[in-house]
Symmetry: C2
Amino acid sequence: MMYSIVETLKKNQLSITDSRKKILELFVRSKGALAHADIEHESGTEFDRVTIYRTLQTFVEKGIIHTIPTADNSVRYALCKDACAGGHHHDDHVHFMCDDCGTTYCLDNISVPKLSLPDGFTISQTDVVVSGKCRKCRS
Amino acid sequence: MMYSIVETLKKNQLSITDSRKKILELFVRSKGALAHADIEHESGTEFDRVTIYRTLQTFVEKGIIHTIPTADNSVRYALCKDACAGGHHHDDHVHFMCDDCGTTYCLDNISVPKLSLPDGFTISQTDVVVSGKCRKCRS
DNA sequence: TATGCCAATGCAACAATGTTGCAAAATATT
DNA sequence: AATATTTTGCAACATTGTTGCATTGGCATA
């Protein structure tokens, strides 16, 4: 069962504001991951750039969205699975980034393999980013 | 067998310049990965910022260094294994980034697991970034 | 080793991205 | 409805990355 945008914000003890509603809605509607620039572009001049930065920061802290590591220079964010069901979770899924169109997908079905590191290293998180061509861009 | 800095540059058909020698030397001496800012800091005011950007770009194109994906906002570069032996190679190893000190290690011994993606996706590259505490920072 | 070509550098100017402090406005609380 | 708290927008600034162009320096050739 899905919670609404507003309920998600409430669950995370965040004030209900226009920017938060709109930005969270963008994530819900978007299939892929979003970069700051995408959001700024989609929401037009409605919100200040700073507001978007701070909103993203807040969402990350609350576990509503998570960052995706990329080899190019862009930070991308994606909804945490079950974020709208109120649960935090570890980001144990694989990300796919299309070389052509740049779209980033969360491949929720593929779990990150367990790795054994050298002695002395402890693991807090494992990110897997696969690059290649997505369904739409292979010709 | 290791080639010298100069020989590595020659092998890649690059002119031998002060900046290239110095920057490549930094990578050889460094255990971990370097960000642009690290290099700018280490080399002082000796080289222009633009020169460092262009040198890194060139090294990446020649396969001497590779970028490491990160979830924070920094692009990091590391020597390609065997770069000084003249061989290109696929980046099929795991990267580790310490949450505390930020040092990034190439774990050359751990190979990236093969993944099977959904139909329609083709893989060109797989990056694995593990976060946690490194040997030095675990207390 | 001197000459000339081509590649690389430095500079300047600019664009994009991210951060901070603070007053004003919106939201939540009573 | 009044007050307290949070969030926003603005301004100013810092960092990061890019581009064009004149100058410098490396390298091949004679």
